[in-house]
């Protein structure tokens, strides 16, 4: 139990540390990969909390998605290597306020929501995956299919933007 708490705290701090690193560097690739490792640390936190499927999924998906984010940042940002040591932050006061409010709201939800009784023992990891599958095909089928439609919308929107660009009508 103590080990579990220790690792949750350790990876939590790692996630925060990498999260800070995102803004402390002027290199776009570093920034993107710092975000990746922040997300990986969150995945490790999930593992420490014994939610195996979620944790491994997080660790897997973030690697590719953040790498793709890195290439898009390198494509569109000025000076992606950070050679000019450009200051990356702006509107600091506003951001700090927004961050504080957002963080406070999340904390409030976490603390104030009645989560119900604590389960003494987490279900076995294989059982979790099964239960998730049954949930997807049972109660949450509509959510699942809606997710499909949402993804379709995203694909169409993304393609439409890319295609318009290709024709050179609006090069943003």
């Amino acid at each position: 139990m103590h080990a579990q708490t220790f690792f949750i705290a350790f990876f939590g701090l790692a996630a925060v540390w990498f999260g800070v690193a995102v803004f402390r560097t002027s290199s776009m690739v570093r920034s993107a990969l710092a975000l990746l490792f922040s997300q990986t640390a969150i995945g490790a936190m999930f593992l420490a909390m014994q939610t195996e499927f979620l944790g491994v999924l997080q660790i897997m998906m973030m690697a590719t998605e953040m790498s793709i984010m890195a290439i898009f940042m390198v494509m569109y940002m000025m000076d992606p290597g950070g050679l000019g040591a450009m200051e990356m932050t702006h509107q600091k006061r506003f951001s700090i306020a927004a961050g504080a409010i957002g963080g406070g709201a999340a904390l409030a939800v976490a603390v104030l929501t009645p989560w119900g009784p604590v389960v003494a023992q987490a279900p076995a990891a294989a059982q979790q995956t099964r239960a998730l599958g049954l949930e997807l095909l049972g109660r949450s089928m509509l959510v699942f299919e809606t997710a499909g439609v949402t993804i379709l919308t995203a694909m169409i929107a993304a393609t439409a933007v890319a295609v318009r660009r290709r024709e050179g009508k609006a090069a943003r």
Binding site: G84, M86, E87, H90
Partner: protein
């Protein structure tokens, strides 16, 4: 003992690794493996492993004499190799600026085998030594030059002021190739000017050691780096894109005299007399004068600079570094804040306005990347610089720094050269096709002197020319297959190409079966046709010659109509498509064809100097070299060649590279260039 040893005394661990390194010799060949093969060297057969990058190589093999430019390039490669490193010189003359050769041998396969043995011993016993010397060469040193920020044409070797405008010249790192000034220093150009106006005193500091502050340009006493103006470091944020704009806008702001109004980038209706933030969105207001100029980010740069200028007057006190840091921090809260904020998302259109556009309309930075003169997979000596837009080639500049043709021909002027010497020089011009060029000289001289060539000799010379074509095509095939990753076939091809040198008809007949197996194997390689289709398409026109023209459907062949070849049963090979696939097919067909021609000729002989006595006259000849028809016109006076004009196939190919690779993917572009089989040695300037 080798020149490139690591420093240190022997220990057990070092002895062990030295022995292992003697076994694993990864080699880089200069000028290139195709030259080595033409000289009859089979490097893989001698146990040298190919190295993709100089970082992986432990031996630099010099095959044959190198022209000065290639020696310099080889020195750069050598400098970038990791110690312990060695130089093996095979039949090479001068090596400078390379250090002396660690192993010297003549140009032959047995000598190479022996040299590799000696090199292994030398490395096993000399990879470490206490007194290992460093390596330096002029080509590796960068010098600092001084340019005027306003007049780029003013370049001086010494610091000083511009003769045109009186401004202080700013330092810039420069290489012999030119144009290598790092962006951070470029950025200083704009800022330096500002400082100059602000009082003329600027401080120079080391990018690595901020505590080093000088009031003169120079280099850092700690690390030797060029000092950069302090402002450049602080203001580096605008590098590299906003620089030009900021230079211009600076003047604008200076003239404006500070009476500009401030407006919000998002809400143009918000106008204030003072700097501050927008009541609607909270963003920092920007000066309207600049915004109206449609280059707002530049205006900010200027604004930021003038705001911060007070705090940045080059202090010479010991707390200089601290002072500068304070100035920087101050800017974070104020001016710098909106500069950065602005340029990251607000005014991308303005910021990227001057960037080059790709065909899909996206503004990108382009970089110039050298792919030569010593790039593995391209002909050694071909200096190719590609402008890359991501992984796509936006432009190309190809040069042949090793082109010797002009020199060989020009030297024929004046008193003139004896005919034999002229033929020898022309033959030595291109290491990839010496026989064809000797033959060309001979034919032209015979024509000039009116000597009738004897038919038996002509037949033997045709046989020798075909042997050379065979070797040349096989070497090209090896390079080409190697770059496609077909290592198995490439290896076989190298061995065959090297063993063609000096082989007689019987030996070639013995090798014919292996050559046919190779050709058949390449033809049957799955996906190869798909891989090459459509790459490097060149339409046939009157100027293209050789296999490249024949792959585009034109039977441009100097052998057509030659009675000697007619007697041997020659028919030109053509393919219609004009792409890399067709070039491969044509060369494969020609390899088989040359085998047949060699067998039909029976005797191979290219010796014999044309005996033209003291004849005079002019003559012209055309010989089909492995790369296409080469034409030579000579004027002979009393047995001496006084003038000569040479036209070679590679000259035309070199001109086509630019259009050939435009908008190709990088790998396709390099494949296209490689498929031409261009010989930089025979290019006529």
């Amino acid at each position: 003992m080798i020149h490139g040893a690591r420093r240190g005394a022997w220990s057990g661990l070092r002895r062990l690794t030295a022995r292992a390194q003697a076994q694993m010799l990864a080699a880089i060949v200069v000028p290139g493996p195709e030259v080595a093969a033409a000289l009859g060297l089979d490097l893989a057969g001698a146990g040298l492993l190919p190295a993709a990058s100089p970082r992986h190589a432990s031996v630099l093999v010099v095959a044959g004499a190198l022209p000065a430019q290639l020696r310099e390039a080889a020195a750069v490669l050598y400098a970038q190799m990791m110690r312990p490193r060695a130089v093996m010189a095979l039949g090479a003359g001068t090596l400078a600026p390379l250090p002396g050769a660690d192993v010297v041998a003549e140009l032959s396969q047995p000598a190479l085998l022996d040299a590799v043995r000696r090199l292994r011993r030398a490395i096993a016993g000399g990879a470490f030594r206490r007194d290992a010397a460093g390596f330096d060469a002029p080509v590796l040193r960068s010098r600092t030059e001084y340019v005027c920020p306003m007049h780029p044409e003013v370049v001086r070797d010494e610091p000083g002021s511009c003769p045109k405008c009186g401004m202080t010249l700013v330092p810039r790192e420069a290489q012999d190739e030119g144009g290598h000034a790092p962006d951070a220093v470029d950025a200083s150009t704009g800022m330096e000017m500002e400082a100059g106006r602000g009082g003329g005193e600027s401080a120079y500091t080391c990018p690595m050691h901020p505590e080093v502050v000088r009031d003169e340009p120079g280099s850092c006493p700690k690390c030797g780096m060029t000092l950069v103006p302090r402002e450049a470091q602080d203001e580096g944020g605008h590098a590299p894109d906003a620089v030009d704009a900021s230079t211009g806008m600076e003047m604008e702001a200076g003239r404006g005299g500070g009476e500009s109004a401030y407006t919000c980038p998002m809400h143009p209706e918000v106008v204030r007399d003072e700097p501050g933030s927008c009541p609607k969105c909270g963003m920092t207001l920007v000066p309207r004068a600049a915004a109206a100029k449609d280059a707002p980010e530049a205006g900010h740069a200027a604004d930021a600079a003038s705001e911060a200028a007070g705090g940045r007057h080059a202090p010479m006190d010991p707390s200089g570094a601290e002072h500068s840091a304070a100035a920087h921090t101050g800017m974070d809260h104020g001016a710098m804040d909106h500069v950065a904020g602005h340029s990251t998302f607000m005014s991308m259109v303005a910021v990227t306005r001057d960037l080059p556009r790709s065909p899909d309309g996206l503004p990108m930075d382009w970089i110039e990347v050298p792919f030569g003169p010593l790039f593995p997979g391209l002909p050694g000596g071909l200096s190719l610089v590609l402008t890359l837009d991501g992984d796509t080639v936006a432009g190309a500049a190809a040069q042949a720094p090793v082109a010797a043709a002009a020199a060989a021909v020009a030297d024929a002027g004046g008193r003139g050269l004896p005919a034999a010497e002229f033929a020898r020089r022309l033959g030595a011009m291109d290491p990839l096709a010496p026989v064809a060029y000797r033959l060309l000289a001979r034919r032209a001289l015979e024509c000039a002197a009116g000597v009738e060539p004897d038919s038996r000799g002509a037949r033997a010379r045709a046989g020798a020319a075909e042997r050379e074509r065979l070797a040349s095509h096989l070497a090209w095939l090896a390079v080409f297959l190697g770059r496609l990753g077909l290592e198995v076939h490439a290896r076989r091809s190298w061995g065959l190409a090297a063993s063609m040198r000096g082989a007689d008809a019987a030996r070639i007949a013995g090798l014919a079966a292996a050559v046919r197996v190779l050709v058949r194997g390449v033809r049957r390689t799955p996906l190869l046709e798909t891989r090459l289709a459509g790459i490097g398409r060149l339409a046939a026109d009157g100027r293209l010659r050789g296999p490249v023209a024949r792959a585009a459907g034109v039977a441009a062949d100097g052998r057509v109509g030659d009675p000697v070849y007619g007697a041997l049963g020659f028919e030109p090979v053509t393919r219609p498509d004009g792409d890399a696939r067709a070039r491969l097919a044509v060369r494969l067909d020609e390899i088989e064809q040359s085998l047949r021609l060699v067998r039909a000729a029976g005797v191979l002989d290219d010796s014999g100097v044309p005996g033209i006595g003291a004849a005079s006259g002019t003559g012209e000849a055309l010989v089909e070299t492995p790369r296409g028809g080469a034409r030579l016109a000579v004027s002979v006076e009393r047995g001496r060649v006084t003038a000569a004009r040479l036209d070679t196939p590679s000259t035309v190919l070199l001109e086509r590279i630019g259009s050939l690779v435009a908008q190709c993917e990088l790998g396709d572009a390099l494949t296209a260039v490689a498929s031409l089989d261009l010989s930089p040695w025979e290019v006529v300037a």
